[in-house]
């Protein structure tokens, strides 16, 4: 990042200004955007080095975990969050579910020509605040600008690096028959918040996204000493897709109990209205835990003791199944498959 001499440059007009192609040209306008907006908001010792990359101390012991996540959300601002905090939380969670302590983040922006600087500032400040609250600094990044019509306002890609201590083994292939399946709280809040906002459904009680960084909750869970086999954050595709992924990786089957699945009444009502299933709707602040059966209660207690896990619930068990089906005993008393999501969930006609 180059130094810009303040005396000869008009500061960014955040209030009225818009992104133009010069903000991605590599010249002065780009340097100014980076210095006055990104660097100012994300400020830390690594970013201040001003190089193309960050020089970071190598932690002693353990193994490095690295995760990348691209964020494209419409609308960019929604009840409970925005694309900025989402891009920080999402990547922290991807690192944390590996059992790692998240240490650093990178952030890359693809901005569309014409995007208001005021909106960009809101997003950047939301990212800075999320990173600060999580204690995970953004230490490097990149900015590109695309012509109008070739983007959707702003796309953000974040990469996270963390360290998992020696001896901690969490992986999608470790679920075993008999294990308990837990979730840390209500399902579908993020996806329905986005959908209600996108479609201007105007529910009387707005549904809020659950976007949150989960590393604190995960540390509390692992500190309980429970034999946790798998951790996942059920984002796109919801709980159903996440469990199908784990079932395939671990070569097991699963049986859920519909009655035990926690769903906020507003989310359930909105899903009912649109003909959607909350099992398939995205979450951004929830954890799926597969844990040894004898430690299930202990793990549940640890989750519930944390503010982000207050509504944690045991929702099913792992069993042997050569077909790796995820099934569910319905509240009605019947059985059904909880299948992979097919394409996008689309509202039914009638």
């Amino acid at each position: 990042m180059s130094e810009v001499k303040r005396g000869y440059v008009r500061p960014l007009d955040i209030r009225h200004g818009r992104i133009d192609l010069s903000h991605g040209s590599g010249g002065r306008a780009m340097a100014q955007l980076i210095e006055e907006l990104f660097a100012a908001a994300f400020d830390n010792e690594f970013l201040r080095q001003g190089n193309d990359g960050a020089t970071l101390p190598v932690p002693a012991g353990g193994r490095l975990v690295m995760a990348a996540d691209a964020h494209v959300v419409s609308p960019l601002f929604f009840p409970g969050g925005d694309i900025g905090c989402l891009s920080v939380h999402g990547t922290i969670n991807d690192v944390a579910v590996m059992g790692a302590k998240p240490l650093w983040l990178s952030a890359s922006f693809i901005l569309e020509e014409g995007f208001p600087l005021a909106d960009l500032k809101r997003i950047v400040e939301s990212m800075a605040s999320a990173a600060k609250d999580a204690g995970v600094p953004i230490v490097t990044g990149d900015t590109k600008v695309v012509e109008q019509g070739k983007g959707d306002g702003v796309f953000i890609t974040t990469t996270g690096v963390g360290v998992v201590p020696d001896g901690r083994e969490l992986s999608g292939d470790r679920a075993r028959p008999g294990d308990a399946i837990l979730v840390s709280g209500t399902l579908g809040d993020h996806g329905m918040a986005i959908m209600a906002e996108r479609e201007s459904l105007g529910f009387s009680a707005p549904i809020e996204s659950d976007t949150a960084a989960l590393h604190g909750l995960i540390e509390a869970l692992l500190a309980s000493g429970a034999d946790v086999r798998v951790l996942r954050d059920p984002t796109r595709g919801g709980l159903a897709t996440t469990l199908n992924e784990i079932a395939r990786q671990s070569k097991v089957g699963m049986m859920l109990q519909e009655k035990s699945l926690p769903v906020n009444p507003e989310v359930a009502a909105a899903c009912e209205f649109l003909g959607l299933d909350p099992l398939y709707v995205a979450n951004e602040g929830k954890l799926v835990v597969i844990v040894a059966p004898e430690d299930a209660e202990q793990a549940l207690a640890a989750l519930r003791a944390h503010p982000l896990g207050a509504r944690a619930a045991a929702v099913g068990t792992v069993h042997e199944d050569p077909h790796h089906f995820v099934q569910m005993t319905t509240a009605f008393g019947g059985k059904r498959i909880v299948d992979w999501l097919t394409g996008e969930q689309l509202p039914r006609i009638c």
Binding site: E199, K259, P265, A268, A269, E272, H323, F325, Q327, T329, T330, A331, F332, G333, G334, K335, R336, I337, D339, T342, G343, L346, P347, R348, I349, C350
Partner: protein, 375 residues
Amino acid sequence: MKYIDEFRDGDLARGLSAAIRQAAVPARSYHFMEFCGGHTHAISRYGVADLLPDNVRMIHGPGCPVCVLPVGRVDMAIRLALDCGVTLCTYGDTLRVPASDSLSLMKAKARGGDIRMVYSSADALKVAQANPEKQVVFFAIGFETTTPPTAVAIKQAQALGLKNFSVLCCHVLTPSAISTILESPEVRQWGTVPLDGFIGPAHVSTIIGSQPYEFFAEEYRKPVVIAGFEPLDVMQAILMLVKQVNEGRAVVENEFSRAVTREGNVKAQNLVAEVFELRRQFEWRGLNVVPYSGLKIRKEFAEFDAEQRFPVAYVSVADNRACECGAILRGVKKPQDCKLFGTVCTPENPVGSCMVSSEGACAAHYTYGRYKDFQ
């Protein structure tokens, strides 16, 4: 959730299950067709079949508007978007219906077609108002439930003097489809498909009432019970059908009396009659050409008829030869009897229409019930 949870109570379901088991005579078997995809969806999603005795079998009928939409009609919509450059508005679950040339509306959108998902005909009208420079076409599909809102949109467009709004009308009629099934050789002549009664449509009947089914009960001696889409409604209807069969009765009973009357919604019926008239014939996917089974826009509203406004004639397209959708829709075969089921034809790559919508018989069995095929 008030008005929802009451109809999904597990204890009540177990009570109804016991009542059905008690009522069903062990020596005989019962075959009931649920016409509506909404019922098929409820039966699969809530595992209703698990609560029925072995001698009560449900047959999934053709009542999914997406499933019965023929390839040629989807082709017309795609041609409107890609060749005529219109903005095509459609209900969400039509987007994946397979069309010719390995296309679907979703794939046509990826090829640059301006295709938008809407929740109602009124939304399509708003798109037209907001984009006066574009020709906007509403791809109107569905049974009697979705027809009145289309009529309203056409009348509003006329009142607003909109010159850039039209409708590709593919609305179809329930009674014609039921007649076709009952007249099919398997049911009528050969008797190879036993059909002991129907669960009548829920939402459709709120519009047309229970009266149109009286003909089927009398003429074909088949009991009909109109039922809501909640799983308890379905179970209650099954119990009522079992009792009718046992007593040798064949009448129309209304389980869904909280929403359906004998006459239906006369205002909506008049509105539909004002805007639409019967087509001499209309092709259904899986049921071939069914006489007087579809609607077209009356000539008084011709300027809002996309088939008049744009050069898109209907061309019939044959289904894949190996596809058994036609037999499945008529209850002649089960989804798992089709060679394509679960191999070539899956929800990700539907070959036949029954695999497209979650209400289709094949998609419902694949998505919710295929574990039974491995037991």
